[in-house]
Structure formats: C-alpha cells, structure tokens
C-alpha cells in the first residue's frame, strides 16, 4: 500500500480529537451503566432473595439452642454474612447489562469509539459492585431491625460493606466473562447460580469446626469461607486482625483472578463481535 494522506485525525473547529483519560472514560461509562442498572428489576429480585435468606434461615434454625450459642445468643448476627453473599448475585447484573448492550447493538457502537476495553469492563464491574454494597446495606439495616447487633458497631459495618464491595467486584467480573463468552441472556443469568455452591460449600449454617472433613476440604478452597468468617467475626466476636486479613485476601484474590480473566476474554473476543 502507498503512504496515505491523513497522517493523523483532523482537529476541526477547535474540537479535540484526543480521547479522554481512562478515569474520565470510566466515569462517563459508569454513570450510564448505573442509570440502566437501577432501572432493572433484577436489583429488586436479588434484594428479595437476600432478605429471604435472612428471614428463612433464622426462622428455620434460629431456634436451635446450639446454633444460637455459636452466634453469641443472636442468630441474625451469624446468618447475616450468608444473606450479604447472596446479595452478591447482584454483581451478576454486569453480565446481563453487557448481553443487553450486545443485543441492542450499543456495544458495537462503543467498540467503534476511542474507548479503552478496560474502561468498558471497569464501568460494568464497578456499577455492579456498588449495587452489591447498596443491597448489602439494606440487608444489614433489615437485619438490625430484626434484632442483629453487630459487635463492632458502625466501623465494623463499614468493614463488612468494604468486603462485600471487593467480593462484588469479583462476582461482577465473573459475570462479564460469562456474558462475553456466551452472549446469551439465559446462560449469563444461569451462570450466576454459581453463588449456590460458593456459599453452601462454606461454614454457612454452622462453624467450620462442625463441618464434615470433606466439607472442610471444600471450604478450604472456597474464598467464600474466608469472607463469611471475616464478616462473622466483625458481627459476633469483635476485631480479629487475622480473620480480616484472610477475608480481604480471599476477596481480593477472587476479584483479581476474575478481573484478569474478564479482561483477557474481552480483549480476545470483543474485537470481533463477528456475526
């Protein structure tokens, strides 16, 4: 091919043609995704599911004296982390939004614009993580209204929400990965059910020591175990540095691995939304 006449884009009438910074891109994209997701009924459904966890488990086993003794006399404190992790399914909204953008053709428009792929992923993942925090806040408030009394007070609740945020980032990145690979609303929605083995293969109903050996082994490899125990320590026992470090490390590892996979998949698959 011969050399071409337009070495760089024209700048007309004072309009810059240089794309904005990564942070501004994320900001602009996140605001859009936030509006879309807050209008989605998925948010309410996830919240109801999380609240159902809280109420049903307390109603079912909250009267068993042995279990109540684990929770320092208040089973709501014990089961609250499970309800918060159930709320993390809200992170799955990221994948559903992406599939919706693929179907509407809006993703194709975005891909023809000077938008960084990582900014696209970040906006979806951040929105969903904020959504998880919003749902976790409501779950905690309902839990307190029903009788939970977090041992570490407001600061402890803030730490629980921070853990929920990091966990939500990972779950959202997982959902984005599934959405890109399948490009299918039902598959992406069904993939969110991974939260069931994640939270049930952990000390959800009884402390770790009371699990059968095979269940303990499964829980050892499950990041949800450490997040649950970290939150539980804040709600029941007080400040425990080691528990918090383990919980944060597990959430971060889950988030980083899922985030890296999502970015790799989006880079390899999104160039061609080939039909």
């Amino acid at each position: 091919m011969t050399s071409l006449s337009l070495p760089e884009p024209r700048s007309l009438s004072g309009f810059p043609v240089h794309p904005p910074s990564w942070l501004l891109q994320v900001n602009l994209l996140t605001r859009r995704v936030m509006v879309e997701s807050l209008r989605s009924p998925v948010l309410i459904l996830n919240l109801l599911l999380a609240l159902l966890f809280l109420v049903v488990y307390d109603g079912t086993v909250g009267g068993v004296p042995l279990l109540v003794s684990f929770a320092g006399g208040n089973y709501y404190n014990f089961i609250l982390p499970a309800a918060i992790l159930a709320a993390s399914v809200g992170g799955g909204a990221a994948g559903l939004l992406l599939v919706s953008d693929i179907r509407s053709g809006y993703l194709s428009r975005q891909l023809t614009m000077p938008i960084r792929r990582s900014a696209l992923v970040a906006s979806l993942v951040l929105t969903s993580a904020f959504q998880v925090v919003l749902q976790a806040t409501i779950v905690i408030l309902v839990g307190i209204a029903l009788g939970a009394d977090p041992r570490t007070g407001l600061l402890g609740i803030a730490c629980v929400l921070a853990l929920a945020f990091v966990w939500g980032l990972g779950f959202a990145a997982y959902s984005v990965t599934v959405a890109i690979v399948t490009r299918d609303m039902q598959m992406t929605s069904a993939a969110n059910l991974i939260f069931i083995p994640l939270i049930f293969l952990s000390p959800l109903l009884v402390p770790y020591e009371y699990l059968k050996p095979w269940m303990q082994t499964a829980a050892d490899f499950n990041p949800a175990r450490y997040v649950t125990e970290g939150m539980r320590s804040l709600l029941i026992e007080g400040w425990d540095g080691q528990m918090l470090i383990d919980a944060l490390a597990a959430s971060l590892a889950f988030g980083l691995v899922m985030g890296a996979v999502a970015l790799a998949v989006i880079r390899s698959r999104l160039l061609g939304i080939d039909r």
Partner: protein, 239 residues
C-alpha cells in the same frame, strides 16, 4: 489521496461445520472529499466491509487502512477518526436523547461546554428538537435512526462509514441527511456507505462499486449503468 485503502481483503464466517465466504480479495480506495457507494444485493459483503473498516471485524487476509492507520494494528487510532452508523441502530434504551449525545461527545474528548454546543447543532441538524428530552426506548424507529446518524457525525470525523444509513427514515428526513452528507463530503469528509438503494447512490456518491458474492463486480461505473443491469427498481435484489 486515499483516506480509505482496502487491499485484497478476504473474510469468511464460521457457520456450523463449514465456513461461508463473505469477502474475496476485495480492493478499493476512497479519497478525501469523496463518497463511495457500495451497492449490492443482500449477502454481497457490504456490511462486512463496513465492519472491518470500523475495527469490529478482522479480515482473514489482506490489509485495510483509514487515514493511514491499519485497521488491525492501529485500531485505537482508527477509532479516533471514524464516524460509524451500522445497519442496526446502536443505542441504549434508558438514556435521554440530549444526554446520550452529550455523553458521547465527551467520550470523543470534547469539553463539556464544547460538547453542549455540538449537541445543540446535532439536535437541530437531525431534527431531534422535539425529542431531546425523551428516553431512547420511547422514540420511533426513524427518530432512533436520526439519533444514531447524529452520533456518527458528533465529533466531525474525517471518515464516515455508514451501513444502509437512511433505510428507516421518512423521505423528508432522508433528503435532509443526504444534503448534510453532501455538504460534509464537499468540505473534505470521506464517506463510504453501503446501500441497496440506487437513489441514495445517485444523490450522494461520486463513485459506485457494485459487490457480488464478496468481490467487486464493477467499480467506478455510473449509477445509470447499475440501473441498466438491475433494471429500473430502486432496490437491488439480485445480480
């Protein structure tokens, strides 16, 4: 000088156990200030050309460049100088018209005041004044298409890539857009558009290339010659 160069690109899509060829050794050039109409029946490969130039699809072989930037190796630079309207309107449902324009203008790097001014221009140009506060999901198909075309023009790109750009517009809006696109072409914008509509090619194009089965069947022929081959129908349906 050429703003768009396509050099022997081929593309095939996987369909089930086999592959379906979409483009075969296609070569084209479009200069600054020129409008090229890609005409052809359904399945001729027109949309694939637009998608490759828009960096949405990679060619299997061959090279294509826009403003000197390779569409595969320098895709990020290509995206700063193209305005695209694909066959399917690419909008998100919850946004309001002016808000959508403003956000996109900012994503193209315009400051907020410059973006606001440009949005007003586009709203007037695209006849969107009455709908500027409405949500996208409440708009008619024609109004959505006008917004989609407005987004393609928002950052005054030197190269416009349009796929069936006025297919769902009413005759009045279609003529308005043709007039605006002709003005942009006269100012130096390079336009490549895919169409099945011979009228559209007559109104806009300096040159016509007819695609059949992924290859250029005729290039640089008068539109009248296309009518001779396809008959007097306005829409191409078969070679």
């Amino acid at each position: 000088m050429a703003a768009i160069e396509i050099d022997r690109i081929s593309k095939a899509y996987a369909r089930g156990p086999g592959v379906v060829p979409a483009l075969s050794e296609l070569s084209l050039e479009v200069d600054e200030g020129q409008a090229l109409a890609l005409l052809g029946p359904n399945g001729a490969g027109k949309s694939t050309v637009v998608r490759i130039l828009s960096t949405l699809t990679r060619p299997d072989t061959g090279r294509a460049s826009i403003a000197g930037f390779d569409v595969v190796g320098k895709a990020a630079q290509v995206r700063t100088c193209i305005g695209v309207a694909l066959q399917e309107v690419g909008l998100y449902p919850a946004g309001r018209v002016r808000q959508v324009l403003l956000r996109h203008a900012q994503l193209f790097g315009l400051s907020r005041p410059a973006a606001a001014r440009r949005c007003d221009e586009i709203i007037e140009l695209a006849g969107l004044a009455k709908s500027s506060g409405q949500r996208v999901n409440r708009l008619s198909g024609g109004t959505r298409r006008r917004l989609d075309l407005g987004l393609a023009l928002l950052h005054r790109p030197p190269v416009l890539l349009l796929d069936e750009p006025t297919s769902s517009l009413d005759p009045f809006s279609r003529r308005e857009f043709w007039r605006e696109l002709a003005r942009l072409r006269d100012e130096g914008t390079c336009i490549l558009f895919a169409s099945q509509n011979i009228d559209e090619a007559e109104q806009l194009a300096d040159r016509v290339a007819v695609l059949v089965d992924g290859a250029v069947w005729r290039s640089d022929i008068p539109v009248a010659a296309v009518r001779d081959v396809w008959g007097s129908d306005d829409v191409l349906v078969a070679p």
